[in-house]
Amino acid sequence: MTLDTAADLLKLLADTTTEPRPDPQLEALTLAVAADLPVLLWGEPGIGKTAALNQLADSLDLPLTTVIASVHEPTDFSGLPVIGADPAVHGVPMAPPDWAVRLATAGRGLLFLDELSTAPPAVQAALLRLVLERRVGALTLPPGVRIVAAANPRGSAADGWELSAPLANRFVHLQWIYQHEVVVRGLGGTWPRATLPRLDPDGLPGAVAFARRAVCELLTARPKLVHQLPQSETKRGGAWPSPRTWDMAVRLIAFGTAAGTSREVLSMLVRGVVGDGPGLELLAVLDRMDLPDPEVLLADPAAAVLPERGDLRQVVLEGVVEAVRGNADRERWEAAWRLLVRALDDGAPDLVVVPASELAGLRRDDWPLPSGIERLAGALNVARRAASA
């Protein structure tokens, strides 16, 4: 056997094809990188984080620079002090390492900090400045450089350190989970190829307004969510809410909205910056903003489109009754009845029961029963049978 034949065999092995496949993880990663936020990929060793980074660099057309954080010394990130001829006059410059100089010269690139969680605390402290201020010693990385880091979950990092809370607060945390079918199909020779999100240039101002409104609405109602250092042992080293991460959430929602991404991807991103609980509350606000406005529904019940999902429909109908309660007159009251009757046309009758009984309670003595109310009889039957239990 000669090495030529071996090379032929290797070439055959490397000959794989790709197929398009939606990949929410990669989409989330791309959006966060586009939004110029540092991303931290959490995943077991050997599940293709680096491969994903290669694909991302290819598709964004950025050169990839990989730095294994755990084998570097703090000075590789904070700069080496070099004593000149006269330190009292010139000071002591902090010299950046070669990879940083090359990145700065190129002006653009994807910096991949691998094995972040196994880096000793002093290295992590030096990385704080790199990740937040993009400074390596005396050198500032140009805006065209994007930063992605990877870490192993502490269960699998043999001698892993814990990510400090300040460092964790600077990243978008994405869980990198391997998918069984993708791996099996990939080993068979076909790897997935994700279609990357594109920003819609006309939708930018709207996207920013939408994102700001959502976050402000939540934080006005829930001031406690603004800043919460992780307390419980399970949440340490992960995403947690602070003004910095809420600002990141605004940015990510704006990017997600402009790119028209799914809620799935937005959910990963938002939960990845402010944590699961606050992230889910923010998503609930987004869901509510999607629901029709009660006042609009009351203004024209005939044209009303109610959500298909029962639980959302229930929320809308309750909102309508609340709106009537807040400002009750006969016209609005009758419009609300018409909405309830409409809700019966294409939905389950039990949803209408509670709003109907509340609306009935709002009736003034001189208001006659609205027309069409007899159609609610079926719903009332449902209520009667439920009550007879």
Partner: protein, 417 residues
């Protein structure tokens, strides 16, 4: 002949009757379920009903569709039907299909009976705490007692403890659908069908329900409270948490491997004009205080002690840097382990944890690791070193949990077991 035809016509007629579903009864049952379990309202309303004669009873899929057999609705009393609604939505809220898939993959289970076993185990987890209080248990519901298993445990706990056999024969018809056990059914509409919920929507519904339960825990059963606490933060194995806490404590400020400019680096000779920091090893002195009453099992205590010893070695501690202070009851466990590992046993600290702290501090440790059940007085001021508390869950009733004296804020606590 005529009677035969009449009979056929008759059967056809009952078939026809069965085909028109009594939706009024079905929705009345859902309304009843919402009234007696208000915290499940958004989850119950989020289910999309699909009429499906092929389903033996009621079944859910992982996209929150609920397949209902008209025949089943006709023969169930309304209140029992309400119980079935809650039962089915519980499968989805508790992510039984996802957990079932994971279990099957991890244990490489195959064979036709697997999904039935998953369904039975999932039903055991649900049925011991959702019924009662306005919801009668439907006839023939699986209960752990039927399989001679204790109530109050999780699907994963029940699974390895029974096989399909005489006890489970009666449940061969049991079918809560792919939402309960992850196995595809012929009637499933699949991911592309109409009215399915996406993963994010499912999470949102589960989050709303968990928030409702956490907001008003008084009226909610213990099983649901536990679910709500853990819905988005599943408990991690305590070994990892204890390990991370001890490692972080041992690595911080002044101990462990870290860089320092305090002494020249080995690379310095090669780079004469550059000042390099050196990697300096400063192994932490760890002292373990074991304070325990007889309520903690020897096995758990032994595992925790071995774990701490292993971490102590991993972060660079030599044996003489790891000490153990033991109270009298725990000495029985600590002695053999310390002898086996070559760890000095520093001596009894009495039964008061404050005395244990005092004798531990005499060894001037960097880290104190306390293994306790928490039922003890704590020092009033923080010790001059980092403290990690491994908290054993007290045996004998979870009701005692809230009367437990919690470790103070200056300690990092990890629940063990």
């Amino acid at each position: 002949m005529t009677t035969d035809t009449a009979k056929t016509a008759d059967t056809a007629k009952t078939m026809d009757d069965a085909k028109t579903m009594d939706t009024e009864k079905l929705y009345a049952a859902r309304l009843h379920a919402v009234r007696v379990r208000p915290y499940l309202a958004s989850a119950l309303f989020a289910l999309h009903v699909v009429e499906c004669p092929a389903t033996p009873t009621m079944a859910v899929d992982r996209y929150w569709r609920c397949y209902v057999s008209p025949d089943f609705v006709a023969r169930m009393p309304m209140t029992e039907l309400a119980g079935v609604w809650v039962h089915e939505v519980s499968h989805l809220l508790r992510d039984h299909h996802g957990r079932g898939d994971r279990y099957v993959r991890e244990h490489e289970l195959t064979g036709p009976g697997v999904r039935l076993r998953l369904n039975i185990a999932a039903d055991c987890e649900i049925n011991d705490d959702i019924y009662g209080d306005g919801l009668p248990s439907p006839a023939g519901a699986v209960h752990p007692a039927v399989l001679r298993l204790p109530p109050g445990e999780l699907m994963e706990d029940y699974l390895p403890r029974f096989r399909l056999g005489p006890f489970t024969d009666g449940y061969a018809w049991l079918d809560c659908g792919s939402g309960a056990d992850g196995g595809e059914r012929p009637w499933d509409l699949g991911p592309d069908g109409a009215h399915g919920l996406t993963e994010q929507e499912r999470d949102a519904v589960r989050f709303r329900v968990a928030q409702g339960i956490n907001g008003a825990p008084g009226r909610v059963s213990k099983g649901w409270r536990r679910w709500a606490e853990e819905a988005f933060h599943p408990p991690q194995p305590w070994r990892e948490l204890l390990g991370a806490a001890v490692r972080a404590a041992a690595a911080s400020a002044g101990a462990g491997d870290d860089y320092t400019y305090g002494r020249p680096a080995r690379r310095a000779a090669a780079l004469p004009r550059v000042v390099l920091p050196a990697l300096r090893r400063n192994p932490p002195r760890v002292c373990v205080v074991i304070d325990t009453s007889a309520s903690v099992s020897d096995e758990e205590l032994g595992m925790a002690l071995l774990e701490v010893a292993a971490i102590g070695r991993a972060v660079g501690g030599r044996r003489q840097l790891l000490g153990v202070v033991s109270c009298d009851v725990a000495a029985r466990v600590a002695h053999p382990i310390c002898r086996g590992e070559g760890i000095p046993l520093i001596g009894g600290g009495g039964t008061d944890l404050r005395a244990g702290f005092a004798s531990a501090l005499r060894t001037r440790p960097d880290v104190i690791v306390v293994l306790t059940d928490g039922w003890t007085p704590w020092p009033s001021s923080p010790p001059p070193c980092r403290t990690v508390v491994g908290l054993f869950r007290r045996r004998g009733g979870e009701g005692s949990d809230h009367t437990m004296a919690w470790p103070p804020d200056w300690a990092r606590s990890v629940r063990i077991g």
